[in-house]
Amino acid sequence: MNKKILIAFVLLALPAFGGSDSQWVLEQSSLTYHVSHPLHESEGVSHAARGKGVCHAGECDFLIAVAVKSFDSGDSNRDLHMIQVTRGAEFPIVTVRTHLPESAAASATVNADLEIQFAGQTAQYKQIPFKLETQGGKTHITGTIPATLSDFKIDPPSLLTIRVKNEMPVRVDMTWHPQ
């Protein structure tokens, strides 16, 4: 009888252990947007992103958030212009959400579906490839999000009446560690 109770307990406990919650925390990050103009190429970098991943039953939900104002291109005039065109004062936070299987952490690459909220718009990017490198319990993720200005209904900024290109790829370089 005792054996039966023990077996039943073990069988009931197994799924609970298998589906135990775990969390990931964004340790450091570099998000770099790139804008092209016939006269000039420019980039803005932010190291101020915050992120968290919550895993449950082998599935993880990630949220990364960064302030629009935290992007620095080295030119205050350009940064203010970018905040204006991206409506950064009205919508101060950019969020990126993704859902991945927990096993993805062990892969060398992962294709992620991203939902990005930026400039008051939501855009979805499918199957965006990212490289993963795990070392010392930390996972380093790199990749490029092929964003465009029109995805977020952003009026392209102009210099000398010439507009920048629509493409605004965002390079992602993040280090995550489990909590």
Binding site: R50, L80, A89, P92, Q121, Q124, Y125, P146, T148
Partner: protein, 318 residues
Amino acid sequence: MLRKIFRNRHNGVRGLVFFVCLVVAIEPSLVAQTAGMGALTGRVTDASSNAVPNATVTVTTVESVENGQTRSTTTGTDGTYRFDGLPPGNYRLKIEAAGFKTLEIPSATVSGTGTAVVDEKLEAGEPISAKPAAASPDNLPNAPSSIATSSSATAPSLSDLGISPEQTQGNPREQALLDKRTHMLKIHQRLGLITTIPLIATLATSINAGGKNTSTTSRDLHTALGAVTGDLYFMTAYYAIRAPRVPGTESRGPIRFHKAMAWIHGPGMILTPILGIMAFDEKNKGEKVHGIASAHGPVAIVTAGAFGAALLSVSVKF
């Protein structure tokens, strides 16, 4: 060749078997992606996860919206669709079906080695553009709870990241200030560009205006062009000076040089016409330009040089 095979074997059945084997052997290579090409597949369903047949799925290369390569297909009875032989890259997806809102995916990445899978749910309703979604209180970053609910009950929220609701609140007043600033600086930029035309013309006509054998007409033309340059310059300056400042912003980068140059060409634009009028009077009296008026030329050159440098400093950066 096949005819020869059949003729040689004199056995229709064996020939047919051989032909079928040949087709089976070749078929995968016909269907499979060409080397270096990718594929995109997926399933279109409704909100209840039921297949949506006959939905039109269109893929367009993202790299060139104007000249984008477009391909279309329709979903089968099981709601699936597939595009083979796609060059690696980013594609826009558009899914249209009667009785559903049109769904647009800005970017789906197709690699040259694998098959990208894009499964989508369509919302019932009129066929209008659904994604990227228009701003509404529910899809703004300061309303994360609705998004979290839609994806998963365990999904982290902005408060989990230590971001307070105050930090996510928009500031329409600051946005209006930025809008006004950009609007005025755009006019500043355009007027500055326009000003360079009479400025160059004024410099060009100075050759005939200041020499020994100069005519009144040359001087008048030079003076008129100088006056137009001055007027446009001060209009240009007005839009830069009156553009609202954004509190807490420190000038960094090329804009500092641009502003520093204004301390040279600004006073220069005031001094140059004053000296020019003096030189003009002396010339009209038949005198040789002398005294302080003789500084008109050098001051004008320094002023124009500073103006050009200011223009270039923002031309290589924006």
